[in-house]
């Protein structure tokens, strides 16, 4: 056999990924040498990993798109911005975990899985072809399945994990089957090549292409919990440990939306009419399911699950718009959503009492009299989620609604507005519990400086973006300008 010449791929754009992968393994090993009372140091190490990864990403990212590993990886401003959101979402979820997880068995593995899940999301955000996309997706999904079932002694947690696992595997199978059709027609996994191949494919291939489109869209819609593929969301959110719910509710959604935009804009642009029709129906259904079902919930984690579904319905309007404003709107929405949701989950975990977190809506009654600071923060998050003007959530909705009107779907914006008003009801109901009801149960707060700082920072961010949204909107517009 003749010796072969392997060209060394350009690894510079992957430095953040390699760093996170190494650090995840370091956490896994370091855990073995830590005495039991210092296990939470792993959490600090994981937070530092997220921050350093952010610095590295800022340093290796360039204004133009850089491709590496034979076109299996791409780093452009879009991916870089999405990764910063993913780091922030993961770091905040880890901060929320520090106190919650301190008595659990296997804390080191917990943070390892969080970091590996983050690695999967980073790869999804940077995937220019179906191979990297699928592997990143599975890496992320596998970590979340385990994290949801982490409290094995809690029946609810195991049940949620198993449901999520089975439905998630089915969705992955459907996604793969769809990819196989697109591959069969175009002979490539690369998004750009698939796009070019589909544009030239004759009418004979149309049925196979449509079947591929429907399967791929269904598989991805599952991951971002769009109706009618949302069934797993409430159960998984409720059963998972609260910090894991916080983790699942933002960062994987960012990665899911980024990959959805990439697939639609790069691989399937010739099918825009078809996918806009599919997404229009799904968006209306998602908004309806999310906002109407949330009204009936008494458990705040279940309520927030349906709230996530409702917000996904709003965010998808930006994808339907399909222009720079729409895609930028998706990023703006995810940025604001990150702060609102992480803040709410931080307060929920802070309200831990005897191992039971403030999970029922009743538990929030009278919070304003005991802890006015938390009550104020909760009020800000909830008003922002409801989309009250001059808080972050208002501008998030404003940007996507304007984008979808610009794209010529005025009726969609009107439907969304109606559901936003319906949604305001159940958010404001929680505010009513906090401010106008009397205390029903005794509070027993967790005193944790980092978590309290999280509440302060997220609340300030929600207000700041609400008062002065231009920088965020401009950064997001600059980030997506390269992909269309």
């Amino acid at each position: 056999m003749t010796p072969m010449n392997f060209p060394l791929p350009n690894v510079v754009p992957l430095i953040p990924e390699m760093f996170v992968a190494v650090m995840a393994m370091v956490v896994l090993m370091w855990d073995l040498f830590l005495p039991k009372e210092r296990k939470h140091w792993n959490g600090y190490l994981a937070i530092v990993t997220c921050i350093v990864a952010g610095v590295l990403t800022m340093n290796v990212a360039t204004a133009e798109s850089v491709s590496a590993f034979y076109g299996f990886f791409v780093l452009d401003p879009f991916a870089a911005y999405a990764k910063l959101l993913i780091y922030a979402g993961t770091a905040l979820a880890i901060i929320i975990s520090l106190d919650y997880m301190k008595d659990e068995f296997g804390v080191g593995e917990y943070y390892t899985l969080m970091l590996f899940g983050m690695l999967g999301m980073m790869l999804m955000a940077s995937a220019p072809n179906f191979v990297t996309m699928y592997l990143g997706l599975e890496l992320m999904a596998l970590c979340t399945y385990v994290l949801v079932g982490f409290q094995r002694d809690v029946l609810r947690s195991s049940e949620a994990s198993l449901k999520y696992f089975i439905l998630g595997s089915l969705a992955s199978g459907i996604l793969l089957y769809g990819i196989s059709f697109l591959y069969g027609v175009t002979g490539s996994f690369d998004f750009a090549e698939v796009g070019a191949g589909l544009a030239h494919s004759g009418s004979g291939a149309r049925f196979a292409v449509l079947l591929g489109l429907v399967f791929v869209v269904s598989g991805l819609a599952f991951k971002i919990s769009m109706a009618p593929f949302h069934m797993w969301t409430p159960d998984a959110y409720e059963g998972a440990p609260t910090p894991v719910t916080a983790y699942m509710s933002v960062a994987p959604k960012v990665a899911g939306f980024v990959i959805l935009i990439r697939v639609l804009a790069d691989a399937l642009p010739s099918l825009q009419v078809e996918y806009v029709t599919i997404f229009t129906w799904m968006a209306v259904l998602t908004m309806a399911v999310g906002n109407l079902a949330a009204i009936a919930q008494r458990n705040i984690k279940r309520m927030l699950a349906y709230s996530t579904i409702g917000h996904v319905g709003f965010i998808i309007l930006g994808v339907i718009a399909g222009n720079v404003a729409g895609y930028a709107g998706v990023l703006v929405y995810m940025t604001v959503y990150l702060f609102m949701n992480m803040g709410i989950f931080a307060v929920i975990v802070l309200m831990r009492r005897d191992g039971i977190q403030g999970e029922l809506l009743d538990d929030f009654a009278g919070l304003a009299k005991v802890r006015p600071g938390y009550a104020l923060a909760m009020g800000l998050y909830l008003f922002s989620l409801a989309g009250i003007p001059f808080l972050g959530g208002f501008w998030a909705k404003y940007v996507v609604f304007i984008a979808v009107i610009e794209a010529g779907h005025l009726y969609l914006a009107i439907i969304a507005l109606v559901f936003a008003v319906v949604g305001a009801f159940y958010y404001l109901r929680v505010v009513k519990y906090i401010y106008f009801d009397d205390k029903r149960v005794d509070f027993n707060f967790v005193e944790n400086r980092l978590m309290q700082a999280t509440v302060v920072v997220t609340a300030i961010a929600v207000v700041a973006i609400g008062i002065y949204p231009d920088p965020v909107i401009n950064i997001c517009k600059a980030a997506v300008s390269g992909i269309i």
Binding site: L113, L139, G204
Partner: protein
């Protein structure tokens, strides 16, 4: 012509054995049907000159995964009859979905893209081409990133399996061997003056 005959033989047997997996009442029979199905799929890979993938399918899936399946089926004694009870109830909806999917797939497959003219027959590779070498070359060059991510996915699967199954029971009584070895005779025996 002989090749076509073998193709229909193996794919027909694969379909029949796949039906056997779903329909047989005895779970051990199901597992054996699945093993047979994998053998036929491996034979189809051999027909395509992909002998490495065919052998890997037999070694990994039949040799490891299916043996594990067999262990699980035999050791857990899951009540599959109970699981089947709702079958008639779900049959109309499930059957409808299956029918629609079947029609769609037939239509997609019959639309001409996947016909011999759409995808030309690659023919047979030359005798000296080594499948294993070619896959190795591709895996460590073009598909290196995917290969590495797959390695991390495996690591996560390993860690996840341990996390979900390993539990230290606080109420269990363990032997502390170093304590047993280091025990001093004076601690165990007391001489009493009579």
């Amino acid at each position: 012509m002989i090749e076509l005959g073998f193709f229909y033989l193996f794919s027909g047997l694969a379909v029949v054995s796949a039906l056997g997996v779903v329909l047989s009442r005895n779970t051990v029979h199901s597992v054996i049907s699945l093993i047979f199905c994998f053998f036929n799929a491996a034979a189809l890979f051999f027909l395509l000159d992909a002998e490495f993938i065919g052998i890997i399918l037999i070694l990994v899936y039949v040799g490891a995964v299916m043996v594990l399946f067999m262990f699980v089926v035999m050791m857990l004694e899951v009540n599959f009859a109970g699981l089947r009870e709702g079958m008639l109830q779900y049959l109309p909806v499930g059957g409808l979905v299956a029918l629609v999917l079947f029609i769609e797939i037939v239509a997609a497959a019959g639309s001409g893209v996947f016909s011999p003219t759409g995808i030309p027959d690659p023919g047979h590779a030359a005798q000296h081409v080594n499948n294993t070498v070619e896959i190795g070359k591709l895996l460590y060059t073009k598909y290196l990133l995917g290969f590495e991510i797959a390695a991390i996915v495996l690591l996560v699967a390993l860690v996840g399996a341990v996390v979900l199954t390993l539990r230290v029971r606080k109420d269990a009584k363990y032997q502390n061997i170093s304590k047993q070895v280091n025990v001093n005779p004076d601690d165990r025996m007391r001489k009493v003056k009579m």
